[in-house]
Symmetry: C2
Subunit: 220 residues, 2 copies
């Protein structure tokens, strides 16, 4: 989907405002060239005030804004900034990354044999006065225009015994991940099926992102 515009993207400076190695890998796999500049924004929004969709979009925006602001100092804005945030939710209740092993046991026990939803918010920033003036972006402040979207995917987990849960936690994989599992490696054996976009469950909704970027740069 991005191939017809990849020459435009390749000729400009792109920033991924996320330190997630999975997001980096997904974007590298499609041949996009970019630099990684991660945000030090603390994810501290009051979750009780937001739906999961609102929460990920707002967190993605704030994280990306923080990276975007760094470029205002010398006025040399990058051509494209990409930011994202992912959470897992069950019954509209946001489930965090596990705080320790006991917390991972609690989370995986909650997910076992049931479905949950993965939400990722993605934001796209472009300079407000870019010679490429992408369609569909809104002026954010004097420097940038911004657009964004949220993708959700339903995930159905297998029934997991306490033995399976504990031995999975011992692999170390769950500790830095929303919902205490990673679908792309060992955690993939715990998932029965998904409805929606797999890349979204990895943390970056590639198909929708490609469609949005295509629609933005097509106007050019």
């Amino acid at each position: 989907m991005l191939q017809p515009i990849i020459h435009i993207l390749s000729a400009q400076r792109n920033i991924l405002a996320s330190s997630s190695p999975r997001r980096k890998q997904i974007l590298e796999n499609i041949g996009l060239k970019f630099e990684v500049l991660s945000s030090s924004f603390e994810e501290n929004l009051d979750k009780s005030q937001y739906t999961p969709s609102e929460y990920v979009l707002e967190t993605a925006r704030l994280k990306t804004q923080e990276v975007a602001d760094k470029f205002k100092v010398n006025g040399l804005l990058p051509d494209l900034l990409i930011g994202a945030d992912t959470v897992v939710a069950q019954d509209n209740h946001i489930i965090e990354k596990p705080q320790d092993k006991d917390d991972a046991v609690r989370i995986l026990s909650l997910l076992s044999g049931r479905s949950h939803t993965v939400f990722t918010g993605v934001v796209i920033f472009v300079p407000a006065h870019s010679t490429v003036l992408p369609r569909g972006t809104k002026v954010l402040d004097g420097s940038y225009r911004c657009t964004g979207f949220v993708e959700s995917t339903d995930v159905f987990m297998q029934q997991m015994s306490q033995e399976v849960i504990h031995s999975y936690i011992e692999t170390g994989e769950p500790m830095d991940k929303a919902g205490a599992y990673g679908i792309q490696a060992i955690g993939g054996t715990l998932v029965e099926k998904i409805h929606g976009d797999f890349f979204n469950v990895m943390g970056f909704p590639l198909p929708r992102f490609a469609k949005e970027l295509d629609s933005i740069y097509r106007s050019h």
Copy 2:
């Protein structure tokens, strides 16, 4: 799902009877140790005589049998042989790997804006007289027991313009793949959503495989 039995699997000789780099990667990612021995079996079954499910299971069995037979010469059978075959089908009609670029255009035009189904057949061979006597396997011949299953996943493709199709084919990605696309890289941008197991679309249904292997070795 495999973690509780990974110590059994790690202590034995496992063979993946497939040269697919994607299958190798999926099994490596979960920490399984194995050797790759690919089959030279020609996939020549008459497709008009089989449903897609029957076709992939029978092709997987024949490919794996060919590799398994090589070990009969010296009698040192491996502890586990894994084989698989994947096809794409639309309206129960099997779609092959593209023969050339024109064929890839034809296939991708067929898939555009519609759903299709990916079928993978997986077979598991163990020695008939193994000291580990896995449950649920049937005696295949004097040397091996065998079990197998088929996983299917529905894939919904985005509407693709001829420009998108041609520029995707120019990346070279479609040529060695059933259905002329690879979901794990650039082709991932062409897929709108899936219903079912993502790994199956990559060519190896990991969650179901883990469940089967767990059930087989649990009896032990």
